[in-house]
Amino acid sequence: MTSKTSNIIWRIVDLIVGGIFIYAGVIKVLDPVQFANDIDNYKMLPWFVSVCLALYLPWLEIFCGLAVIFQFLYRGGLSILTALLAVFIGATIFAKMRGLDITCGCFGHASKNWNFSTHLLVDLLILLAALALFSRVWGAEKS
């Protein structure tokens, strides 16, 4: 594979990962109350913290998504997105373990009807893609 084609493929992965986060962020920005309720459903944080997170997290997702797509502050954006994904996955598994049956709210209401395994699968796929991007940046830096 020439470096040019591989570059294009990496850019597509960038676009997909960034795009997913922008999409997820925008949906939640539009309805912060719904997202605050979704966070509250995990019963892990006090309501006030849920509200603040509901106002803040979507913007962080959008900014980091943009950073990844436009390759501006790329490394920072990618690190935060990966960390967020890990937190989401952890929270989903934790909720499942406690027997809470909840919508994660990760994609607003689009993910309302997903079951636990679909959910986890989608999250893990995105995490995989993000980690792949990571290893690429890391590798490029070293060589």
């Binding site: 605050a36 309501w47 509200v51 959008i62 502050l73 490394r75 920072g76 830096e141």
Partner: protein, 141 residues
């Protein structure tokens, strides 16, 4: 490399604060900061009392609990017998009156659901949920 990622990450974290604060200010009246019910739909016992005759009390608890005791003047309207109780309640309502719905305590959902149906199905405006419910009312009696 690591340092750079951290620096960029912190910058993004800080940047995202700005629109979040803006959104918080924009939604300040639409979000309840203390409890998961939108602020505009909640009233405290004192606020509801201050309404005097302008308030109409609705008890969303099951029939047995209403029969045992209720806020003086309250009308029973629960979802167990909604279709029967709604026509009994409505003649007591008139435009301009504020409907205050309560159930047993802070954690109960019945009042929220009854308030929602009064807004959606009967299309009443000015329907509120009593914060703390019956328990809180007893405390402040």
């Amino acid at each position: 490399m690591k340092l750079r990622a951290v620096r960029e990450g912190l910058l993004l974290i800080a940047l995202a604060c700005l629109p979040a604060i803006g959104e918080g200010i924009y939604f300040r009246d639409k979000i309840s900061w203390q409890s998961p019910i939108p602020a505009s739909e909640l009233v405290t016992v004192d606020q509801a009392r201050a309404l005097g005759d302008g308030a109409i009390w609705v008890d969303a608890r099951p029939d047995e609990e209403f029969a045992r005791d209720h806020i003086p003047g309250a009308f029973s309207l629960n979802e167990d017998r909604w279709n029967e109780l709604l026509p009994q309640f409505l003649p007591n309502w008139s435009p301009g009156k504020k409907v205050v719905v309560y159930c047993s305590a802070e954690s109960c959902n019945a009042a929220r659901e009854v308030a929602k149906r009064l807004r959606d199905e009967a299309q009443l405006t000015d329907v509120f949920v009593l914060q703390g419910g019956w328990e809180e009312w007893l405390k402040k009696k």
